[in-house]
Point group: C2
């Protein structure tokens, strides 16, 4: 590896020789002295060079080198990657971190095209066109460090509990959720479909006796909508566990995972999040408030908002309203809306014993937006077939899935959660486009 010191590690070093590598954020090319702000993945540092603008008569090789360095700095374009060896000097007058590096040698590793196609005020769409430049901003890059920490914390919980990591196929012979949002693939002589969720396959693991599984992977929805919360491809966080009594057990696991994730993120990135996003991250208290959907709708109605839907579901404004109510009443950013009506839930959600109009299911709302759906699944084959028919589905087409329930299966449940939505709401961002590495939508397949 190129022998460099990460910028964040400079502060702990004594004055003396160092090598740093990164890209040029700014150049201030003054007559007598030149300043370069160099950034790497860990931070930014000021480089300084006393300018040598011309050679005196009889100048030596060292003077020539100084002139060359000065000219190289003058020619530096924003974004170029450079390696600089020089002298580290701690100096509290330097605003940026109280230190600077006096340039000895400068190596331009890759020169950037001087015309930078995006600026700080470019539109989101333009920034997405040039996502690799957009991601150089510390704020944007931090999102993916947070993602890393969040997921690692979740996996720590799963592994500790003995859950098994699976990688379910994304190529399927038929729909896992609804036909409407299905992408079709040319598959040799026939057709395949892209998985809308790992739902069927994580349930299969329960029939296989795995006890509990998790997966973080892509899911695909041929959803033509252009909202700030939808993508045609997104990263889904999925888990499914056996031997649940009800969806309460799924919610308990869900809470534990969120607390672990938020705790790790706050610990590792809390200060940076406050600085760059202006957000004081809070680790949510458990248990999260739970409100039956019917009650939530009443609360929203009492607040004066009429949900303009014919079915039994909430709408995005309703979710914002109930979230505001929970925040005002309980001071909590999260709320489980529970016991959704069967009419608006998929056939595989278990229905209440004694009241088949309701399901053992929930949505998790965070800062006003739904981030997850969870449920206990129906594991009794006769009931499951009945519920599929009830939804107008053809059990013939579901045979491979229904087979999972014909050779014994424990009661089970789980949830799926959109990673980009969690990050968006955690950081107060306006769109999942900001919290997705490379967004995919109906009109966006590039870069």
């Amino acid at each position: 590896m190129i022998n460099r010191t990460l910028v964040k590690n400079l502060a702990a070093l004594p004055d003396g020789p160092v090598t740093v590598s990164g890209w040029v954020e700014t150049v201030r090319d003054q007559k007598k002295v030149q300043f370069v702000i160099l950034r790497d993945e860990s931070g930014a540092v000021q480089l300084v060079n006393p300018a040598t603008r011309e050679l005196e008569e009889g100048a030596d090789a060292a003077a020539s080198a100084r002139l060359a360095t000065t000219e190289a700095i003058s020619a530096l374009s924003h974004g170029s990657f450079i390696t600089v060896s020089g002298e580290l000097k701690h100096d509290e007058r330097v605003k940026l971190g109280g230190l600077e590096v006096k340039i000895g040698t400068l190596d331009v590793v890759t020169e950037a095209n001087p015309e930078t196609p995006i600026a700080a005020d470019s539109s989101l769409d333009k920034r997405m066109d040039w996502r690799f430049l957009d991601l150089r901003h510390p704020k944007q890059a931090l999102i993916f460090r947070i993602q890393t920490t969040f997921l690692h914390a979740l996996r720590g919980v799963w592994v500790e509990k003995g859950l098994i990591e699976i990688h379910t196929p994304k190529l399927m012979a038929s729909a896992s959720e609804s036909r409407a949002e299905l992408f079709e693939v040319d598959y040799f002589e026939g057709k395949a479909y892209l998985a809308q969720s790992p739902q069927f396959f994580k349930q299969m693991a329960q029939a296989a006796g795995f006890g509990g599984v998790f997966e973080v992977g892509p899911a695909f929805r041929a959803d033509p909508s252009f909202t700030s919360r939808h993508a045609t491809e997104f990263t889904s966080i999925d888990t499914e566990i056996s031997w649940v009594d009800s969806h309460d057990d799924v919610m308990a696991l869900h809470e534990e995972l969120m607390v672990a994730g938020f705790t790790a993120v706050k610990e590792k990135h809390g200060a940076e999040i406050a600085e760059l996003f202006g957000v004081e991250l809070e680790v949510p208290a458990t248990p999260f408030p739970r409100i039956p959907l019917a009650e939530a709708k009443q609360i929203v109605a009492d607040r004066g908002y009429v949900i303009p839907r014919a079915d039994d579901d909430m709408d995005p404004e309703g979710e914002r309203q109930i979230s505001a109510h929970v925040k005002e009443t309980y001071g909590h950013d999260f709320v489980f809306l529970v016991d959704y009506a069967s009419s608006i839930r998929p056939f595989y959600h278990m229905r209440h014993e004694g009241d088949p109009s309701l399901t053992n299911s929930y949505d998790l709302i965070y800062n006003g937006v739904e981030i997850s759906t969870g449920a206990q699944r129906e594991h009794r084959i006769d009931v499951l077939v009945e519920q599929a028919r009830d939804k107008g589905m053809d059990p013939e087409e579901l045979e491979f899935y229904l087979d999972f329930f014909r050779y014994g299966v424990p009661p089970h449940g789980g949830f799926g959660m959109g990673l980009a939505r969690v990050l968006m709401l955690m950081l107060g961002e306006q769109s999942i486009r900001e919290t997705t590495y490379l967004f995919r939508g109906p009109t966006r397949l590039l870069p």
Copy 2:
């Protein structure tokens, strides 16, 4: 949650009341006593019930209950999921773990269809048809516990080093590797393609200044071959790091990851692997042997094997031969074949300075099979465009990718590795079908 004790935890409990839940592996229904082997995700335990075959005159309710339990056990079908509460008794005469549970109450949670469609000697294809039953076997299930441990160890290394987890899009506007193996997707009014690898996007992260990234996710190859090493969808382990001097730096990271993964797997599952697979897992010593490809081909030729290929590449038998040579000579299961010819490497591999016929690349061979390809990438835009042309590619079609190199990019490299292949070779399995949760091939999309 249903309040149960995992079977593996019974040994540490004193004699007394316990509840266990799992599926019925076998029933021995003798006249006077009944035995059930119950298995859960952690192990198997013997349940015992003194049979009550008929009621005497004036029998009490308890006797009726005993009769009912006896009859329920007689009727138990293999595979049914049950919950049993009873008395744990340690008894060293019991072969299975030196303990048994005397059945108090038995609850049949889900009854299995009594006709089990697969048996121990079923063909692999038949077992794949009924994968959820196949995975109930301890040997098959262990593979996915090993997978979990292996990946968690790798991620531990990456996170410790500050690498960033990314989730690259699987829907692309054009090919990432070769047109030949591309799946086409109907994408709204147009077409998209499934990513053959995250190659372009993990390189994008280097241009974005991320420093280093990793991803474990699906990759798709419309490969019509039916070998034991190929799938149309597989889980790819990918990493890419900035500021490498050459492919040597990539190999050093690769070794470190393998050692961490194997160490964790050996520690957690070594005994079970020995028992179920007959394999004494070895943590590989570092550095792994490195042999230039040209030299490897000479060694193979000297062993008397003529590689039947017109190009400069190895073939599978050649890989087995060189692996055998390395095992005999260095006692090592791994070997890096380095410096592949440019003619058989993709356009984005960096070529040797001074000898453009060779690349800064390697394949990692493990127990005779290639599991990974790694390389330093060409980051100089002019050279990269030239190499693309040299391979007959149209730079126009690669514009979005080539842009990554026009605004500054550090030297970088990385590798991609097939998870199922590593597991197959680690456990001495014959096919990646055994080490893939749900295999996908030209004629397999179900379940």
